[in-house]
């Protein structure tokens, strides 16, 4: 399969973030077209495209929009999720920094489609300072051209967009955590239901969509639902950004039709494995996704195929590990992340993630006990499905899969108090690590 340039068609242009560059490439034509249709027609178009959200869960976007209550007197909100904090994910940043107007045009059309109130927010992770500044500038340009503000292009539709910076908390990428965070609170997810479409930010019906999802909308409006479906497979449609990092020769963001073969992506497009070592494990959908072994990667990268393979497509953040990686230590590092990022609201997640990290660290340090592998496995069972939001489940993905698929390496560690020959630990045990 050949790479494509659809979502990324502008990113290599000089001055790609400027509104003039965007307009010269046909930008904001979709907005003009959309404003001539009714909001319901746009919702139907997005439904027909079969687009599924690019933020992680893969929920059909048009269907989500359709869940907004028809008769509520409350204003409706559109929130763009630009938190991009899932380890291994760095695709939204490309759109934000290189083609911000694609996102902005997508947001205006989407806000029109869902009949949003006149204020919309982009929740961008605090570390993306540069990205936030680029967005602020792009929004000013869009206002100056009349694409934002009152009575946009004479349509009677009013909208403005505010960039809201997060402050370093992964959980604010979870839609309910994000909503709490915009309201000025700790980013602790709320119980669902009610779902955001019914009661979201400021007590109002709310749609939360990922940057890449919203950026697909102008393309769907321009070319139609059938065109969008021509990329990929049924129910897994559209152009898609894939992030590849770790032990590959050419890491980066790659665009393909949905469903590029994972093995082909790693070996052909990313130039294969660093140091030409054998492949050991692949995390296919961001740090929350269960690991795959080399014999499991000959599959199309889409929502359904990865679910069938017992893992998840998530944010399409592919982390590749070669044979030099100590799998116990790699798993420890993911656990450390979840222990740090648990919002602390529910006991299984707060305590469980810390314990998993502690047990993995003790195995790595030679203090593992023979029952530790089973203990870890049991723990994933006691956290998964028993916590309030999906972070609890996410924390279990890497641990359960590693223990299951690399059990011998865990047992070797516990027995010999050292890493498996040929593998190495990428940290020094005599150095302190940052506290939570």
């Amino acid at each position: 399969m050949e790479p494509i340039k659809v979502l990324t068609k502008n990113v290599d242009k000089p001055n790609s973030a400027a509104i003039d560059t965007y307009i010269a490439g046909g930008g904001y034509e979709s907005l003009k077209k959309a404003l001539k249709s009714t909001p319901d027609e746009i919702v139907q178009l997005v439904k027909d495209s079969e687009m599924r959200g690019r933020g992680g869960a893969g929920f059909p976007t048009g269907m989500k929009w359709g869940f907004l209550p028809k008769d509520s007197p409350m204003p409706r909100y559109l929130l763009c999720n630009a938190d991009e904090s899932e380890p291994g994910t760095f695709k939204d940043r490309v759109i934000i920094e290189k083609d911000p107007h694609l996102l902005i045009e997508g947001m205006i059309i989407s806000a029109y489609a869902i009949k949003s109130c006149p204020m919309s927010y982009i929740y961008i992770r605090g570390e993306f300072y540069k990205g936030a500044m680029i967005l602020v500038k792009a929004l000013e340009e869009a206002r100056a051209k009349g694409f934002l503000g009152k009575n946009i292009l004479g349509s009677g539709f009013d909208l403005d967009i505010t960039v809201h910076r997060g402050a370093g908390a992964y959980i604010c990428g979870e839609e309910m955590g994000l909503i709490e965070s915009i309201e000025g609170h700790r980013g602790q997810p709320r119980v669902k239901p009610p779902f955001p479409a019914v009661v979201g930010v400021f007590g109002s019906p709310t749609i939360v969509n990922n940057v890449e999802t919203l950026s697909c909308v102008p393309l769907i409006v321009e070319h139609g639902a059938e065109w969008f479906k021509s990329f990929g497979q049924p129910k897994n449609t559209g152009p898609k950004l894939y992030c590849v990092s770790g032990h590959v020769k050419k890491p980066g963001v790659y665009e393909f039709p949905m469903g590029v073969n994972l093995k082909e992506l790693i070996y052909e497009h990313c130039g294969g494995i660093t140091d030409d070592l054998p492949l050991k494990a692949v995390i296919p959908g961001g740090g929350s996704a269960p690991m795959l072994t080399p014999d499991e990667i000959d599959l199309p990268m889409n929502f359904d195929a990865l679910m069938k393979a017992g893992t998840m497509f998530g944010s399409a953040g592919i982390i590749v590990m070669n044979s030099s990686t100590c799998i116990v230590d790699a798993t420890w590092r993911m656990s450390k992340f979840f222990a740090h990022e648990s919002c602390g609201q529910c006991t299984p997640c707060r305590e469980g993630t810390n314990w998993m990290e502690t047990i993995l660290d003790r195995i790595e340090r030679g203090g593992g006990r023979p029952q530790d592998a089973d203990l870890l496995f049991d723990m994933t069972d006691n956290i998964g499905g028993k916590s309030l939001c999906a972070l609890g489940d996410a924390a279990c993905g890497p641990v359960a899969s590693a223990v299951k698929k690399f059990r011998d390496e865990f047992m070797y560690h516990i027995e010999h108090k050292s890493c498996l020959p040929g593998t190495k630990r990428y940290r020094r045990l005599d150095m302190p690590v940052g506290a939570h």
Binding site: P87, G126, K130, G168, A169, G184, M321, T325
Partner: protein, 176 residues
């Protein structure tokens, strides 16, 4: 998680000293007022107001929490709850250059811990500590969303991508 307890050893540090109250300068106050226009509630302006305050005052002291609480009509304890939840709000002064090394998986397997260790050893610091001259703070951080150019080190607002022990070592020398 720390709590506001009168008898805790943190108390003197945590409780605002009213003799040291703070205030935005006029241009920062204007930015603050503009923030309020963007949200339907005052409370929602808290995160951006904290970013603004950190730019102004360098860190979020108890006095800053009280000040923002007053401006936004939020209990100072609630402001503290928010400040302590988010990583990026500094609850103590940090160095002029805040060196933040990502050590999450994609960076780790591209030798990020070597960079982190080098920073700590070269400057003689423990994680999160600041050099005595107040120049540099070193912390370990989670994925910065730049794994394709791992390892990544963030210094204040700037990303240093495809970093190496050598490149960061040199960079540390230039941070005045």
């Amino acid at each position: 998680m720390a709590h506001l307890q009168p008898d805790s050893p943190y108390a003197t540090e945590r409780y605002a000293d009213t003799t040291r109250s703070v205030e935005f300068k006029p241009d920062a106050k204007a930015k603050f007022d503009a923030l309020l226009e963007r949200y339907p509630t005052k409370e929602a302006a808290l995160l951006p107001a904290l970013h603004l305050a950190q730019e102004e005052f360098g860190w979020i002291s108890p006095e800053v929490m009280v000040y923002l609480g007053t401006l936004l009509e939020i209990e100072p304890a609630k402001v503290f709850g928010v400040v302590s939840f988010y990583n990026m709000y500094n609850q103590k002064p940090v160095g002029k250059h805040h060196v933040q090394v990502c050590t999450n998986l994609s960076c780790m397997i591209r030798n990020a811990y070597d960079i982190y260790d080098r920073c700590l050893e070269k400057l003689g610091l423990q994680p999160g500590e600041t050099t005595k001259d107040g120049r540099i703070t070193v912390t370990e951080v989670e994925c910065l969303g730049s794994c394709g150019t791992a390892p990544v080190v963030q210094i204040n607002n700037d990303y240093h991508e495809n970093a190496s022990v050598e490149s960061i070592d040199k960079l540390l020398d230039t941070l005045k």
